[in-house]
């Protein structure tokens, strides 16, 4: 676990207490506030409704007091009817304002939540690959769903809380108006309450944060186990995992318990202070009545109001844990939203437009960690329509090169040029539209075959998709599926073989009809049958396109126009197959060694196997 947290650290999504305490709650609320800006009109209507609602709430006890003192006691029945009628009218107003207030606040709240969730999603699309590679999906899911859910919970109680706060102010005003001395004395307990809260808050906040974090850890672990269930069962690992999960659930439970304890702790304080305030009214107010300085009715009103006054404080206290949870969730949400975008469109970036699709690397230096470059001063050029094979040992930087061509990352030095234009000066979307990538591990979505093949080429018709599948050789097996192209794939296409999945991802690239194609060991998982089908398809796919191919199989490499041999982030050799073999360098040795790929070269090189072999 600690390891995973370290990784999250490197991805700059910190979950440490220190980080959180450096910021203030108010910052989180300000951020929420910014989300409210588009809804100013709705918010102002809601505010009016809240005010009306509060006034009606305050009017009820006052009307009752007037009814008792002025109508019932003197026996003034007509006035009684008027007052009862007024109370009925207040009830109607109360109802209407409450309805409007709740409806609008909830609607705005839902809109804001939607906006936040959408922003998070958009942010996740834009963040650099190094972030996405290293951050567990389960943890991100818990932010997008769990934390936004906590905000949701807050919203449901906010409606109540807002009314409560306003009511509080109204009561203070009424008390001060009726008798400011007694009013002030009653309110004298408030500073005490504030003091206690100030002391309590840091503890509570830490507890609530811990709760959220433990919840996210439990979520991540659950996610891992569901995804890897086949391995878990094959390896009889269930009891071990049960123990680990038990530990995490128990951590979550205990952090929840301490959160509850802190949340509930304000209850007795508020109640005690209510009692004290009541006692003040009784003793001081009573003495004032005795001394003739206060009317009896006013004192009764005070007693009624003191109770109503602390009631909202009580319910605010009950909602406080919800609020704190929401603040903690807000921190986690804004942390994600605040991650800087390493790769973003420059201001004034242009669409790449119609270009001659050449790919050029010009003295490129790049490292995932700028201090540790993995690509050192790499320069090469692939002419339009040509295929360049990149070969070399694993970890040599092959995949980094293809990622740079697609601008998944930005170079530290030098330039990457597509059609002669620096990739940083064009929009990412336009860059993506002329390039496609087929990855070693085909990824399919839980959609129909048609949707998967068409994917982002929205204008592709059924006929286009079918044609592509026929060319690739996937049509036959698709046609055999129960619903053909409309068959919905199971989770990540698990109802297809790896080879079939790869064929679909080839078809996907063909439908996209890119000018530049990048293949990242895309044929590694394909069996001999499929290989036969695909060799021809691959030729068709590469025809007329510029291609960067990280090659696994010698057959693919041999057909390339140029072969670039990469080792330890540098180009160590380049040329055609025949040239390279004739030159007798690393490539020739590899080729003579009959390696079908160069994955495992590093170890052998170090053991001197290659050297030994080359001498024979």
């Amino acid at each position: 676990m600690t390891g995973r947290r370290d990784q999250a650290e490197t991805a700059r999504l910190k979950e440490s207490d220190a980080e959180i305490f450096a910021r203030l709650d108010s910052a989180v609320f300000r951020r929420f506030g910014r989300y409210l800006v588009p809804y100013v009109r709705a918010v102002s209507i809601a505010t009016v409704a809240v005010v009306v609602f509060t006034l009606t709430s305050l009017a009820v006890p006052i009307l009752v007091k007037v009814g008792l003192d002025d109508a019932i006691v003197p026996g003034n029945l007509p006035l009684l009817y008027v007052i009862a009628g007024a109370l009925g009218a207040v009830a109607v107003l109360h109802w209407a304002s409450m309805y409007v207030q709740r409806l609008i606040i909830q609607r705005v709240g839902q809109d804001v939540l939607y906006d936040i969730r959408r922003d998070m999603f958009v942010q996740l699309q834009r963040l650099s690959m190094s972030f996405t590679d290293r951050t567990p999906i389960g943890g991100l899911m818990s932010r997008v769903f769990g934390d936004v859910g906590a905000l949701q919970e807050m919203l449901e109680t906010t409606v109540e809380a807002m009314g409560d706060i306003l009511l509080l102010f109204g009561i203070v005003v009424v008390m001060l108006v009726f008798d400011w001395r007694l009013g002030l004395m009653t309110l004298s307990v408030l500073p005490l309450l504030t003091l206690i809260r100030v002391f309590w808050q840091p503890f509570a906040r830490r507890a609530f944060l811990r709760m959220r974090r433990n919840a996210s850890i439990v979520g991540s672990y659950l996610d891992q186990n569901v995804s890897g269930i086949r391995v878990v069962q094959a390896m009889n690992r269930e009891p071990v995992n049960r123990g680990i999960m038990g530990g995490k659930v128990s951590d979550l439970f205990w952090s929840n318990v301490s959160g509850s304890k802190l949340g509930a702790m304000l209850m007795p304080t508020v109640d005690l202070l209510t009692g004290v305030a009541l006692a003040i009214v009784i003793i001081v107010g009573g003495s004032m009545v005795l001394g003739g300085g206060l009317e009896v009715g006013t004192m009764v009103l005070f007693l009624l109001f003191v109770q109503r006054f602390f009631e909202p404080i009580r319910s605010l206290t009950m909602h406080y844990s919800v609020l704190q949870r929401a603040v903690a969730a807000g921190h986690r949400i804004f942390e994600l939203l605040d991650l800087p975008l390493e790769v973003a469109d420059r201001p004034g970036a242009q669409p790449i437009g119609e270009v001659n699709p050449s790919v050029e690397f010009d003295h490129v230096v790049f490292g995932y960690d700028p201090a540790k470059p993995v690509i050192h001063d790499v320069s090469f050029r692939v002419e339009p329509g040509q295929t360049a094979a990149i070969v070399g040992p694993t970890g040599g930087g092959k995949t980094s090169l293809t990622a740079l061509a697609h601008r998944f990352y930005d170079v530290q030095q030098g330039r990457v040029l597509i059609g002669g234009r620096d990739v940083r000066t064009v929009t990412q979307a336009s860059l993506g539209s002329i390039m496609s990538m087929v990855l070693q591990e085909p990824f399919l979505f839980s959609k129909s075959v048609f949707e998967n093949v068409r994917y982002n080429t929205r204008q592709a018709t059924r006929a286009d998709v079918e044609r592509a599948c026929r060319i690739i050789g996937a049509h036959d097996f698709i046609a055999r599926l129960p619903e053909g192209y409309d068959t919905v794939l199971e989770q990540r296409g698990s109802n297809l073989s790896v080879g079939q999945r790869q064929l679909l991802s080839f078809a996907r690239a063909l439908v996209a009809d890119p000018k530049i194609l990048i293949l990242d060991e895309a044929t590694a998982n394909i069996d001999s049958y499929t290989e036969l089908i695909i060799q021809d398809a691959l030729r068709k796919l590469l025809q007329g396109r510029t291609a960067l191919v990280i090659a696994h199989r010698l057959s693919t490499i041999r057909n390339a126009d140029t072969i670039i041999v990469v080792d330890r982030g540098r180009i160590v050799d380049r040329g055609t197959h025949d040239e390279l073999v004739a030159r007798g360098g690393l490539y020739a040795q590899l080729w003579r060694m009959n390696y079908a790929s160069f994955d495992d070269l590093r170890g052998d090189l170090e053991k001197g196997v290659v050297a030994a072999a080359s001498t024979t």
């Binding site: 009752v64 069962q233 109640d271 009573g286 990824f443 290989e531 199989r553 390696y595």
Partner: protein, 638 residues
């Protein structure tokens, strides 16, 4: 990942449809959750007791206040009062009220704390049971239910149940007690006025019931849509490379937006219903106030009631205000728990398709003879295997080849009982594998899959996955066998290197070799290689095979491969087609037969992609001798 023979017909029920047939059984959900909470007998009893005491203090304070103030003013109004006596009366009232408030606060604290921890205990238990169930459910379940769907059940739905236990269950006791007690006290004062003042209760009760039913429908739908949304997000994150490779961000955003909008709209409808219900209840309550003031006032004027009595009725109405305000929330939490709890219980109610038979004993592997006896299998209605019969012994390794979808992987999945055969039987040393415990069977059978899942964690943790206590020596030995030790040792952090989700950072071949080491570490007497080195280059594959030859001695091995050279060590090769064995024999025998096998052989030779294979055309049998340190060295003469 299961693939191969799996035809998608087996998985038409993708997500919630899978559970659809069980939706009717949800009526008992609330009761079942309540029973779970009731199992914490003392905790529950204490929470209720504390709630009752808290409620009585809640009722007692207004009464104390009313009485004390009443007495004092009676004294004042009589005019004969000694100010000192009045003062001491007031002081006494004040002190009692402070004490009562402190007590009320303490019990309020206990009530809240006990209520919440009860909810958390139920949630923790549910989380564990959910987890256990997911671990126990067999492949056929997981094939059909999406991870995102299970995650949303395991996270937000359990949260919904927790909210119900703490809000719905414990607090509803409080609300009922306060409302009933206040009502009783009002009835004691004047039953006719009580009828008027309590007239709002049936109305509120009716509205609550209606509200609950309406909300339940909505919540169910909201949760389903949220499940779909979380699937979308999950796949987006897992497939982020594809998304970026196709610059499909805006497409993905549109997809997300559409689904998130759906959730939001439905949510708004549910909230509108809730707002309506809540405000109507408040309205009914205030109308009751007006009625009391009117009717009670008339009665006071008539002289049939005192002002004090009317004041007390009004005071109790005030007491009821807060609980009445809470009713819509409670109703909502019940409605939500009904759907959320239902979705959790649906999973908990699944019975694993594969389980130990009663009286199943552990498997004792003696000789290690595995027999498939007229085995047939189908995924749902799609037949995957027909009449498959063969025998594997430690001294007779079996290799299986065939086109994708021909049933190779199905054979691999049947032996460890990931699925049960539809007809026929699989035996180990003559014992039907359904007669022994699943655990002992899986310990005896090691399987290496083609598309292995690696977990977040270090390489060491991943290799030691099935044997967490393994020593470093054992782990290194297994890694050497799998030809992955040199690679790992060359990494800056060696075995402590972290690998991320789905092992990003390792190539397919490296991941396969880590998975191979993971299985070899378990040292099982029966080994299945399910195309387990397909992404490993031919040279390394050769070295792995040579190393394994030593390991395989005395073990029962089944090797499934599309690369014929991987089957060199097999004594018998089965050629599969459309779920049946169409040819069998040794390499030489099959070559002579000029059939399917020969066809595949020629195919691979023609492709020339795997020069090792082509070059080794004449030496498909185990090579004689050969330096172990210089693998492939004998073949370099190309």
């Amino acid at each position: 990942m299961i693939h191969g023979a799996r035809l998608p017909g087996a998985g038409r029920q993708l997500t919630d449809d899978y559970f659809a047939r069980q939706h009717g059984a949800g009526a008992r959900t609330i009761w079942r959750i309540t029973r779970m909470a009731l199992r914490y007998r003392w905790h529950f009893a204490l929470a209720i007791a504390v709630t009752l005491i808290g409620a009585s203090f809640f009722l007692w304070i207004p009464r104390l206040l009313g009485q004390g103030v009443d007495q004092a003013f009676t004294l004042i109004q009589e005019g004969s009062a000694d100010p000192a006596a009045v003062r001491s009366l007031l002081l006494r009232t004040a002190i009692v009220i402070v004490i009562a408030s402190a007590l009320r606060g303490t019990f309020g604290f206990l009530q809240m704390f006990l209520g919440e921890t009860l909810g958390q205990r139920v949630a923790a238990e549910l989380r564990m049971r959910f987890f256990d169930k997911l671990q126990a459910l067999s492949f056929s379940f997981h094939d059909n239910v999406h991870t995102g769907n299970l995650m949303s059940r395991g996270i937000s739905d359990i949260e919904g149940v927790r909210m119900f236990v703490q809000q719905g269950l414990v607090r509803s006791v409080y609300v009922v007690v306060v409302v009933v007690a206040s009502a009783a006290l009002i009835v004691a004062i004047d039953w006719q006025l009580a009828l008027v003042s309590l007239s709002f209760i049936p109305f509120v009760a009716y509205r609550s019931a209606r509200l609950r039913l309406e909300l339940r429908r909505y919540w169910l739908r909201v949760q389903e849509l949220l499940g779909a949304l979380s699937t979308t997000v999950q796949e987006n994150l897992a497939g982020t490379r594809v998304v970026r490779a196709f610059a499909a961000q805006s497409y993905e955003e549109r997809k997300f937006t559409r689904e998130a909008r759906n959730v939001q709209r439905l949510m708004l409808d549910a909230l509108a219903i809730q707002a309506q219900g809540g405000s109507v209840m408040s309205f009914a309550f205030l109308v009751a106030w007006a009625l009391i003031l009117w009717l009670g006032g008339v009665r006071v004027v008539n002289g049939s009631m005192t002002v004090g009595e009317l004041t007390q009725v009004l005071a109790f109405m005030a007491v009821m205000q807060f609980p009445v305000r809470m009713i819509p929330f409670i109703v909502n939490s019940v409605a939500r728990a009904h759907s959320a709890g239902g979705r959790v219980l649906e999973v908990l109610d699944q019975t694993p398709a594969i389980a130990d038979r009663p009286g199943a004993g552990p498997l004792a592997v003696g000789e290690g003879v595995v027999r498939f006896d007229s085995v047939a299998f189908s995924y749902g209605t799609v037949a995957a295997l027909r009449n498959v019969t063969f025998e594997v012994r430690p001294d007779r390794a079996i290799g299986i080849v065939g086109a994708p979808g021909s049933g190779k992987s199905t054979i691999a999945n049947l032996l460890p009982r990931f699925y049960d055969v539809t007809a026929g039987a699989i035996t180990i040393d003559g014992v039907d594998i359904r007669e022994v415990t699943v655990r002992s069977l899986r310990r005896a059978v090691g399987i290496v899959q083609q598309d292995p899942f690696l977990f977040d964690g270090t390489l060491r943790d991943n290799i030691a996955y099935g044997h967490p206590d393994a020593t470093m020596e054992q782990i290194e030995a297994a890694s050497r066998l799998a030809q992955v030790h040199d690679f790992i040792a060359g990494l800056p952090e060696g075995y402590q290197t972290e690998i991320g989700e789905r092992g990003v950072g390792l190539s397919g071949g490296q991941r396969q070799r880590v998975a191979l080491a993971r299985t070899l570490l378990l040292d099982p007497p029966i080994l299945i290689f399910d195309d387990s080195t397909s992404s490993v280059d031919a040279g390394t594959d050769q070295r792995i095979r040579q190393q394994l030859a030593a390991v395989a001695k005395g073990r029962t091995t089944i090797t499934i491969a599309h690369r014929l050279s991987s089957l060199r060590q097999s004594d018998e090769i089965l050629v599969m087609d459309a779920g049946e064995i169409v040819e069998r024999g040794t390499h030489d025998g099959l070559m002579r037969r000029n059939g399917r096998y020969r066809e595949i052989f020629e195919l691979q030779r023609l492709q020339g992609s795997e020069t090792t294979d082509a070059g080794a055309g004449g030496s498909l049998r185990p090579r004689a001798g050969g330096g172990e340190d210089v693998p492939g060295g004998g073949e370099e003469g190309q």
